[in-house]
Subunit: 366 residues, 2 copies
DNA sequence: CTGAAAGCGCTAACAG
DNA sequence: CTGTTAGCGCTTTCAG
């Protein structure tokens, strides 16, 4: 297979028109409105274009003129590459890609380095709108996105006044899960959560930190747990919450270890994501704790791997979420008020939750 | 969190300059060359910008002027969303994203519908270059990409004269695998391969079809197998090759079934991808065939799941491939000749390959 | 340090 | 069906 040699951007629409002795409009029409000129002339235009190596209208110039870039920007809080590792993020991405595909829109992944606060990439992105996926409420990139005069949809977090949004009811979802654990009899629980703020804190999270978390998804889940267990007579101040900055199974494992070291009497580990829960399962196994007989472990998200191991968790429709975000962005906006899509979640009772063992059982076996 | 109301694209650089009573250059400099004006003036410019709701230089206009879009286009042969399901593609994507991130370039996923031959999206993409990932040599989107006056890198396939490329030595890789099987004693094998052309053919692939495949990766692997087994005295014309259009484990399972139905004496199933191999393993289990005692199964790629189940396969560095493609595209091109990166592969001897059973063993047990 | 001039390449009325 | 006229919003020499 050979490719034609091309000169450095030689021909333009204007030069083609000159060569043909027609106006630029006519050439433009040949590409954009075939019905506006005779087939014969169009053929001649296209043929001359080929001869001159004219690659067709320049997309950037066209975008400037039409004020349409034909692409949707996606802003993620993590490194781009992280999105390709986290199953939940991936599901979202797939849904969003589906929506873009359907509308013939490109998907422009904005290169963001969470370490540096380099907002320039947001300003440089030639897009018709942004989808922002799960970023902290004080994210400077988010601020940059909002400063651009294009429609924006936020997925999961944060809540931004006046901006379209798609997400789930985190509080309701976690409440159902908590109630289940309470009904099973768990009162002594430990919590593993994801990062609560942009600064790294791999360790216990104070109540202060919990309630001022910059990720409202995590905040809602923690508050929901606190309320549910509070009503069941558990003093939340006594419940240990361990935070991890990196969202990996290794984080889950080390957090579980930290929790179990601090209080071996814990009967249930509540994790705010499946990834963390999978890590917790690994750590339990390492310690010779049987799940669920000796320890209950729960997750959140409902990723495929969770399904496979029978994790008790809350399933949320991540693909649907991505698709909904895309549809919201690409559909006609409602000028009167921001739109909001709240998707359903489902409590999945797996094989990793059971009533706690009594103290006797703990020491003398079942 | 509140957001400021913004009017529909009210302020421009020019209007800002007018308001301030300075030239456009000065305003432009305030954004792009802070050292070119006094801090005081710059502060005034930025402050007025905020007051007027000027969001900063328009990215599209800037791109037109500077002839830089700040993004890399990615062309995939499948639906965008498919890429998020195939682990090998995902690894590539991650590597490419890493490279883009490092260079501060956006990654623009081109929306391609493989059903329709709509090439417009390629022409519309405002990008500085393209990475093309594993498409057939007659793909119209590829042709569209090549017609654009921007640098291009092809990953895996096809070979395009004069175009930078990154890939592996498929022939060498498959030859090592074939030799292993031959050494184990396999002579009666069946082959499962991915799509060989843009038209759907779920069934046996004739030798004609094998050697004229539009995906040279598949072609090279099949030809490599044919040569190796040919040298070992196997008449390739007698070897059944089953093709599947969709690249899923379900395809692998049904292809394995088709092969084993046609010839129950087959001792080894050679699959040109791990995904297909995983499906073949499922089908073998369903039939009560023990792997590797009753049947040898091999894959290609070295995805994580293959590792987990101990599949005998060829590992290729997919992430590295993506990164290499990005580096090639973003680095300085070599004007004298096309660059080519061939990455190393590694034969992974897993637990799914063993010597074939003798006929006696087959009927009377080991 | 600032401004004037000159487009980047294209599309969209509108009039012929 | 074709051409004329006007920019889209910005950057960049090059003088001052």
């Amino acid at each position: 297979m050979a490719r034609s040699i091309h000169v450095r951007r030689p021909a333009t629409l204007a030069s083609l028109a000159a060569e043909l002795g027609v106006s630029r409009t006519t050439v433009s029409n040949a590409y954009n409105r075939p019905d506006q000129l005779s087939p014969e002339l169009r053929r001649r235009v296209l043929e001359t274009a080929r001869r001159l190596g004219y690659p067709g209208p320049d997309p950037v110039a066209r975008s400037l003129r039409t004020r349409k870039a034909g692409a949707v920007g996606l802003l993620l809080t993590e490194n781009l590459s992280y999105a390709f590792r986290d199953p939940a993020a991936l599901g979202f991405l797939e849904g969003l890609a589906l929506a873009c595909e359907g509308a013939g829109q490109g998907l422009h992944l904005v290169p963001v380095n969470p370490e540096r606060e380099d907002v320039a990439a947001v300003h440089r992105a030639g897009v018709d709108g942004f989808v922002v996926y799960s970023v902290p409420d004080d994210d400077p990139h988010l601020a940059a996105v909002l400063s651009r005069p294009v429609p924006t949809v936020v997925a999961d977090q944060p809540n931004v006044e006046g901006v379209d949004q798609v997400g789930i009811d985190d509080r309701a979802a976690i409440t159902a899960l908590a109630q289940q654990l309470i009904d099973l009899g768990h009162r002594r629980v430990g919590v593993l959560c994801m990062r609560l703020s942009r600064d790294r804190n791999d360790g216990f999270a104070s109540q202060e930190r919990q309630s001022t978390a910059h990720f409202h998804v995590q905040r809602a889940r923690l508050n929901g747990l606190a309320d549910s267990f509070g009503k069941a007579g558990v003093d939340w101040a006594s419940v240990r919450v361990v935070e991890r900055f990196d969202h990996t199974t290794a984080s889950g494992a080390s957090a579980a270890a930290q929790l179990l070291d601090a209080d071996p009497q814990i009967t249930a580990l509540v994790c705010t994501s499946d990834i963390l829960a999978l890590g917790a399962l690994t750590e339990a196994r390492r310690r010779g704790l049987r799940v669920p007989q000796d320890l209950t472990v729960t997750g959140f998200d409902g990723i495929a791997e969770a399904d496979r191991v029978g994790l008790t968790t809350v399933r949320q429709p991540v693909l649907e979420k991505g698709r909904a975000a895309g549809k919201l962005l690409l559909g006609a906006p409602d000028p009167t008020r921001p739109r909001q899509v709240i998707l359903d979640t489902e409590l999945v009772l797996g094989a990793t939750s059971a009533p706690p063992r009594t103290s006797e059982e703990r020491w003398f076996g079942p």
